[in-house]
Amino acid sequence: MLRSASGFALLSLLFSAQTGAAEFCGLRCEPDRSLLESLRSPGLFGAPPSIAQCGNRANIPVLTETPLAGGARRTMALAYGSCEVLKLKTRSNLIPDRISGTFKSFSGGADYNFNGVQIPAGVEQVRKTHPYLRALQKEDCSNSRECSPAGLKLPVQGVDPSCKKMVCDAWLWPSMYQYGGKAGTGEAVYHEVFTRKSYDSKTKKTTTRKYSVSGLDCSYFVFQAMQRAGLKFSASQQNFYRSTTYLSTLGARGAGGKREDCFDRINSAEGIRPGDLLVASGVHVAMVDTVGRDPFGIARMIEGEAAWNWSSPAQQSMFGEIRAGTSKVPAAAEHSFLNKLAGQLCADLDPARFRITIIHSSPNGNGVGIQREEAYSDTSYSVGLGRSSTLLGLLKLKAKAECILALKKKWESFSPGFSKSVNAVLEAIRKSERAPGGSKVLRHASIEPGCRGAPPIDPALNCADCCDLGSSYESLTGGSRAD
């Protein structure tokens, strides 16, 4: 209860401090202040509701999501010190959509190498041009004042210091992508320091400046999301950080199909859900964030028969005969024909029609770090998984398998037995899905005994409990990929 009361007080503090200057918004429950207003109502004011009760409000992800999706969103809110960040659209819809003011030469060693070579020209520049931090700067909040050296020293009655620290950390040490970065939000915040050396040819002097930000890489973001969701990697082991190489070993089954960890490897026909992990060993891990209607464009492809890419008029004619029930060929030949056609049509799925967003810590956008994006963009290579990334390949394979399965189900109505016939492409995809290592889709077995850990004990980690963690593809993207 102490935590709850102090969290409420923090919120009050943040809302009450209005300076009129453009400042950064802190963690707050609802952008429209309706929760704040209800908390201030006379009936409640004497006994503010527990922040934990916010769980009864609209902050529970929809049932089709795994808890990991909520953990990722909570992590994002904590990293940016704002609930409102979860209401922003995908990064490419923000202005600016990338950090600017970067320079290429710097010194600091490989360990402090942000996004390879592009290092932000100072923390102030990051605050000004980081897509999320920039969007969160509002007229009516006062993080810079509250988080100033003087503001931090002010004793504020009832405010949980760790919760205030959380908000201020996000302001003072902005979250960005860094390979190997393990900046925490809450547990022993670890500020990465990088240095920039600049040489002035006129004075012949070298100046060294240091900058501090909270660097976070893709696998550490997943680790944090697991913690925030109270999930474990393995029922038999303590939770600790795991690299992408380790993540790619998860989802294995031992003797008798026995689960060896808390993840299931998701194969074709098992769909895709928010919270699923897309893992490429040693390369990258991203999380499915939202899944729209017809996520792979399969239904749209099937319904858009006029646009099918027939290999020949004879093929089109044959399909018409089979569908009309006038075909004279034996069932086996019919199935063979349909299987080939299904493989052909499903190879034609366009990732530009995917309605899937991902949440990950990525160097995209010049090192933005934690961000939500369309999984694929046909307009920019720096959005989502990239045109030639291994993880996009993983989604494309999954789309193809699900497409073939959908056609098998649909065409069964006019070609009995087709759904049970062997499709070589589908079998090959299933075989590749069973292969060890490589890229894979993982889903946390949240209901499995032992796979849920104790909730975080650090009160700072509960600062985002009032955030509305619900999200949808349409709200995040504006429904830009219409039928």
Partner: protein, 166 residues
């Protein structure tokens, strides 16, 4: 160090070879990408290997070999923006070293597995490495936009050409 285009262009006829001349290096005209070349599986395989060795998945620096002029079947430009973690090449492929394509197997999934052999240096020691990658064909209607193919499985070794390291 940059590869001189003029020098690269003297390698006419390299397509007939079973080895790849050099670096990212199958350079053609300045704007070399041509979706019609997607039909040439061997060329796509070669370029997929070279694209990786040129540093397509390298995040710790900017390769000097990823210019579009160097690729005729791949649309370059840091396509793997989401692939974040290949930082330091474990092996360096010496300048001018050739890559041997050992086999190209069409896969039912709609892709090709390419096995290749190359010599590379690690800590001053030369090693001959055998590796493979898998790429998926892009549908013909999106090749102009996305290139001929999409990497599906990266090689096991992270090696880069010496001349591409900046």
């Amino acid at each position: 160090m940059r590869i001189e285009r003029t020098w690269m262009n003297t390698l006419a006829g390299w397509l007939a070879l079973s080895t790849i001349p050099i670096a990212a290096g199958v350079a053609g005209p300045a704007d070399a990408f041509d979706p019609k070349l997607c039909e040439d599986r061997h060329l796509v395989s070669q370029e997929m290997v070279e694209y990786h060795l040129a540093g397509a998945h390298w995040q710790a620096g900017v390769s000097s070999c990823l210019e579009q002029k160097n690729f005729r079947t791949i649309l370059s430009g840091r396509q793997s923006a989401g692939d974040a973690s290949l930082v330091t090449p474990a092996f360096i492929v010496p300048k001018g070293s050739k890559i041997k394509i050992d086999s190209e197997n069409e896969l039912e999934i709609g892709g090709v597995e390419v096995r290749f052999t190359f010599a590379a240096m690690r800590a001053g020691e030369k090693k001959v490495l055998h590796d493979s990658l898998i790429y998926l064909w892009n549908a013909p209607r999106i090749r102009k936009r996305d290139g001929c193919a999409n990497i599906q499985t990266l090689p096991a070794y992270f090696a880069m050409r010496e001349e591409c390291l900046r």
